[in-house]
């Protein structure tokens, strides 16, 4: 009865939906597009006023980035710290998540969650004093250890539901057959949560890559990560926007690409299990 009367207003709502969606899309993506566009502009063009949308693109900014700054070295530093801390996070977090899931003793997991809540500076002050005493400031070791404080909780909280989803009867049957917990973890549980391992390592990678504060203080000019080096690019960027935007684009690329890969699992991973995806 009402379907006929509703039709014009339905169509109006459908059009409104599209208009709003396009507007939201522009608001979300235009700044990123502007950043990428600017990175391909000649130096006189990037500060042109009024700003230009059409221009002949150039790779000069990217070229000069590798020639005039140790961009490549910073990139390698970032990879060492990120991969190292992700591996350490998995190494520590995966068995811990298994034990938490098996024993239901949750306090260690909750302590790591509290660590995620506290401001980074709270840890950084004592770490600074500690690492200075053992002469580790500026080393990859200090950066990997501190970044593992970011990655380990991610690994634990992402893997926990994966372990919880394995039926208890699987473990019980293995135990009856005389399998020890270490063997069950290594031979049965771990192969069953491979996808969880993949998601947690990607998320750990992204958050470790993006993390700024620890490397800002604990790295030196040789071990500086890209994110910490951003600060130098800005100092130089006041005269060189093209270079600054080229650096920004390259630094943002790995996490954005990985995010698109794991988008299906993002919800449960990013909310630390607070929302079911």
């Amino acid at each position: 009865m009402s379907s006929l009367a509703n039709r014009p207003s339905d169509r109006l709502i459908a059009i409104l939906d599209v208009v709003l969606l396009v507007a939201a899309g522009i608001a979300v993506l235009a700044p990123v597009a502007w950043m990428v566009l600017s990175s391909f502009k000649e130096s006189y063009e990037v500060t042109a006023y009024p700003p230009t949308i059409f221009f002949s693109p150039t790779l000069d900014n990217y070229r000069s980035l590798s020639e005039t700054t140790p961009f490549l070295q910073f990139g390698i530093n970032s990879l060492i710290v990120t991969i190292g801390s992700t591996a350490l996070g998995i190494l520590l977090g995966a068995p811990a998540a298994f034990v938490v899931s098996w024993t239901r003793i949750t306090w260690p997991a909750i302590v790591t969650l509290l660590a995620r809540m506290a401001p980074g500076t709270l840890f950084l002050l004592p770490w600074y004093v500690m690492f200075r005493q053992v002469d580790m400031i500026g080393t990859y070791g200090a950066l990997i250890l501190t970044h593992a404080v970011i990655t380990m909780p991610i690994v634990i909280w992402v893997l926990l539901p994966f372990f919880d989803n394995i039926p208890r009867s699987v473990f019980e049957a293995a135990q009856v057959d005389g399998c020890s917990p270490v063997r069950i973890f290594w031979r049965i549980a771990l192969p069953l949560v491979v996808s969880g391992l993949a998601v947690s390592s990607i998320l750990a990678f992204v958050f470790s890559w993006n993390y700024f504060l620890f490397a800002l203080v604990l790295s030196n000019s040789d071990t500086k990560t890209l994110i910490a080096a951003s600060f130098n690019f800005i100092g130089e960027g006041s005269t060189n926007w093209g270079g600054l935007m080229a650096a920004a684009t390259l630094i943002a690329l790995p996490p954005l690409a990985l995010a698109l890969v794991v988008q299906r699992w993002l919800i449960s991973g990013l909310t630390l299990g607070a929302v079911k995806g």
Partner: protein, 286 residues
Amino acid sequence: MQTAKGQLAALGAPAVVFTVAMIAFPVVYTLYLSLVAFSATGATSFVGAGNYVRMVSDENFWNGVVVTFYLYILSLVLQLIFGTALALMLFRAKRLPGFVRSLFISPFMMPPVVAGMMWLVILDPSLGAANYILTSFGLPPSEWLASPQWVVPTLALIDTWQWSPYVALIVLGGLQSLPPSVYEAAEIDGASGWKRFWRITLPLLLPTLVTAMVLRSVDLLRFFDLIYITTQGGPANASLTLNIYGFRTGFEFFQLGYASALMVTLSIIVLGVTLVLNRLRHAVAW
């Protein structure tokens, strides 16, 4: 059985040792540091609650509290509104390809530091694209991050650009778990779309929204990367949050004791807000 327990303990031990060494011990150590003062020669002297007493009469501390909460509340409100709106749009656009959907959601995966670099250029007071757009609509240009009056709203706006998609992601999860029967019943009763949103969707979404609030609050109260990369607390301390103030006190002025006291205070604030919001989460659960 005994060995089984032992093996489980062995599996969990590395993480526990790491947590104690890198998290628990440092927190205790910060508590200790907050009770001492470092002299120029590096010698420490116990000052008891001295660092905390000093906060009471430190105008930068009170300024930090005000800036922290101003930035927190403004950002949180904006992100909840825009995040919920974006989630509703994406929820209705069921035919939107997954790839486009994840593009909408992507900004918060970008390093906040990069977001800062990007917006510094866009919001440049004299040559930025933002002011060009404003003036071409006949609006007055803004000083954005360079204005003591506008720096906090500008930071809130940048953070809202980056994190509304995250709120949307959470709300979308909540929307997908709502029972469709409720909508069907409301539709049969002839409730309008607007009414359905206010009377049905929003109340049912409240637990999800509070979850989003908790997750965002933790980040917003210790807002750091974006401020440090763009203004470092300026102009005229207008964006000097507690976290930035504590960091600069510790690592630029090397007053580790006082900086520790500031960070302990900020951590207590974060914990307090989280506990209050958790209470709220239980109150709105259904």
